[in-house]
């Protein structure tokens, strides 16, 4: 076993040595930390991977950045903070990447940004909504996705329009879920103190949520809100429907996590998804820049799936880094971070600036377009859904449909 060790570490030493002697023609390495195996969401991980691959090929075809090609280095974070920490550290110390992005789960982001800060490497959050990622106020961390407080604001607007008196939120017991639930609580206190609101946290590993749902059968609220990710989200939806709680003639079902975006959504829910209201970040009826449509088409070609917000967030995350390298004319961390903070960034979802003000908006791309729509048929594609709010579409609940019972 001695020899095996020696070999292994000799190898390691060589790798290190090699990557020290980097010269101009070497590709620029960018680290992608995503979930490629459970318990995290492999579905999302794969979407992020597909998207950044498209962007990489695009950029490299146009000759790369600073005359160097882009190379993506992947690490699997399994959706586990601990693994995310290790993955990021490996990307930085072994992969020698100039920036890290890709992460799509708040708890993982929160572990990874600690490493990014320790090694002072720019980190672009791809899909972590939790405010807490911003509240840390780390200068190395930039945020491409929407954030819970902002979601809460538009959800509460909608709740008011729906004439809600009592709303119950089911959120997963993660930083994202509980963060979202609390954010909505805050927004209600501020904008709609009339609404009686409480949230119930559900275990991500849970299989049977009926005990949490049954009490609602006894006295149903006006709206049941969801801040959960699959697979438990699907189980909750099915059991809500099975118990006749929501969607029902009395009660709206309102998802705030963009569930309907998931490719496996309809494979897991049937009637339970019909009449559901969705807060989402992408709707085909949005008018997006050409860049977006190009990437969208390539994505459809490659994967036979329709593009969704996560595709665009991932694309933006990478494009943002690449632009920063262009602006800074170097891959030096401080230079890139400085450039990022100052940038006016042309992304797939529009043109963004980076918010400076501390708090949930810190180093956040603003303003992320969002939509609210209702699913009116089982198996409906996002394009066919009923858009009730979006860029240029003022919120109107008039057209909403309600189940007979």
């Amino acid at each position: 076993m001695k020899t095996r060790h020696r070999l292994k570490f000799l190898g390691a030493a060589l790798i290190a040595a090699a990557s020290f002697s980097a010269f101009a023609a070497d590709p620029i390495k960018i680290g992608i930390s995503i979930t490629q195996s459970p318990p995290g969401s492999v579905v999302q991980g794969t979407q992020v991977k597909d998207a950044v691959e498209i962007v990489k090929d695009m950029v490299n075809k146009q000759g790369g950045v600073l005359g160097r090609q882009i190379e993506l280095v992947y690490e699997d974070n399994q959706g586990i903070p601990e693994k995310g920490r290790a993955a990021t550290e490996k990307l930085i110390t072994v992969g020698k990447v100039v920036a890290v992005t890709g992460s799509h789960q708040s708890s993982v982001c929160l572990a990874e940004i600690e490493v990014a800060k320790r090694y002072n490497i720019p980190y672009v959050n791809t899909n972590c909504w939790a405010d807490s990622v911003r509240l840390k106020g780390y200068p190395q961390v930039f945020n491409a996705p929407i954030y819970s407080t902002r979601v809460a604001e538009s959800v509460v607007e909608a709740l008011l329009k729906l004439g809600t008196k009592r709303a119950v939120m089911f959120c997963e017991n993660t930083d994202y879920g509980i963060g979202a639930a609390k954010a909505i609580g805050e927004a209600i206190k501020a904008k709609a103190p009339g609404i009686d609101y409480k949230y119930e946290t559900l275990d991500r590993a849970g299989k049977d949520f009926t005990p949490a749902i049954l009490p609602l059968r006894a006295n149903p609220p006006d709206v049941v809100l969801l801040a959960m990710l699959p697979p438990p989200a699907y189980i909750v939806m099915n059991q809500l429907y099975e118990q006749g709680v929501a969607p029902s003639a009395k009660t709206w079902l309102f998802d705030t996590a963009g569930l309907a975006d998931y490719p496996d959504f309809w494979a897991n829910v049937k009637e339970a998804g019909k009449y559901m209201l969705n807060f989402a970040l992408y709707h085909p009826q949005m008018n997006l820049p050409k860049l977006a449509t190009d990437i969208g088409q390539t994505y459809t070609q490659r994967t036979k799936n329709d593009p969704n917000r996560l595709i665009y967030q991932a694309a933006d995350s990478l494009l943002f880094i690449i632009d920063a390298i262009k602006q800074a004319k170097s891959t030096d961390a401080d230079a890139m971070i400085k450039a990022m903070a100052a940038m006016k960034f042309e992304g797939t979802r529009g043109t963004f600036t980076i918010a400076k003000d501390a708090g949930p908006k810190f180093q956040q791309m603003v303003d992320i377009p969002s939509v609210i729509y209702q699913i009116t048929e089982v198996g409906q594609s996002t394009g066919k859904t009923l858009l009730i709010e979006g860029p240029g579409v003022p919120l109107s609940t008039a057209k909403l449909m309600k189940p007979a019972k």
Binding site: V42, P211, A218, P230, G244
Partner: protein, 296 residues
């Protein structure tokens, strides 16, 4: 009305627990070892059902027995390949009986989980329902057609099993071996065969419950781990090897978790079982329904 709901839902869940736990109890009864791969027998059932029905488009009602069969095969193979040494002079080993059984079955469970994860993939998949009634009201309670059928099948299976053990030829032989392996073998009973039957049975039961719940609880590689944990608690509560005991324990636990979740704490409902377990071990080490046996 809420309480009626809780009671009935609790009993239903308890019934599903029982279907799992009984198999484990059988094995413990006859080999005096615990099969830590039991949850994976369940998982095999779930996947067989889901994949056969979804990918091959086989009729779910046909997929059900297939799943049970798959479980049975895995069970039988486990006994053939891994358990035989237990009753062919294990004493001469570097390892003793319990150690060997624990290590091997636990490794088997790791192996199966990770194999499925690599081969079939980590995505969670939802099995097609046996009947396309996604919601129906039955007196005071509401449930899906699937849940109703699953409950019925589970109940029927458990009764059938009880009858098999009590009255059938092999059932009697199994009882004999469980009571006294040496004596049974002296009396000319093929103890190896009996053990194999037990493993096959418990595999089939686990596979069946996996299939029945596939449309309710989506299939994923680790889907078996939690039902397994529950059955471990149940087997101890039920008194290690007592079938009636484990059924009673299952129903009790199911109901108790339901009420506890609403009236005590939803978040900690899974801990109730463990708490009771600890208390029982303190005051009644032989389990709620078990009998003290002779040591020496």
């Amino acid at each position: 009305m809420l309480n009626v709901d809780l009671l009935i839902n609790g009993l239903i869940i308890g019934l599903f627990y029982a279907l799992m736990a009984v198999g484990l109890t059988l094995i413990f009864g006859i080999l005096k070892v615990v099969n830590f791969a039991h949850g994976e027998f369940y998982m095999v059932g779930t996947y067989t059902y889901t994949l056969v029905a979804l990918k091959l488009g086989v009729d779910p009602w046909l997929a059900l027995p297939l799943a049970a069969g798959a479980g049975a095969i895995v069970g039988s193979l486990t006994e053939r390949m891994l358990m035989r040494p237990l009753y062919s002079g294990y004493t001469s080993w570097g390892m003793l009986k319990d150690e060997y059984a624990v290590v091997v079955t636990f490794a088997l469970s790791l192996l199966l989980v990770n194999l499925v994860d690599k081969v079939i993939g980590p995505y969670s998949q939802r099995g097609p329902a046996l009947i396309d009634i996604t919601r129906m009201s039955l007196g005071p309670i509401m449930l899906s057609g699937q849940k109703l059928i699953a409950t019925a099948v589970a109940a029927a299976t458990i009764v059938a099993l009880a009858l098999f053990i009590r009255y059938s030829f092999w059932g009697r032989q199994i009882q004999a071996v469980a009571q006294n392996r040496l004596g049974a073998s002296l009396a000319g009973i093929d103890t190896a065969k009996a053990s194999n039957i037990v493993f096959t049975l418990s595999g089939a039961l686990a596979g069946l419950s996996g299939a029945l719940l596939a449309p309710i609880i989506n299939a994923s590689p680790d889907v078996g781990s939690f039902p397994a944990i529950k059955s471990y608690v149940i087997v101890v509560l039920g008194g290690m090897g007592s079938i009636v005991g484990s059924i009673a324990a299952s129903l009790t636990l199911g109901v108790l978790e339901g009420f506890g979740a609403v009236y005590i704490s939803y978040d900690y409902r899974d801990t109730f079982g463990l708490v009771i377990l600890m208390l029982v071990l303190l005051v009644r080490p032989q389990g709620l329904f078990g009998e003290k046996g002779r040591d020496v």
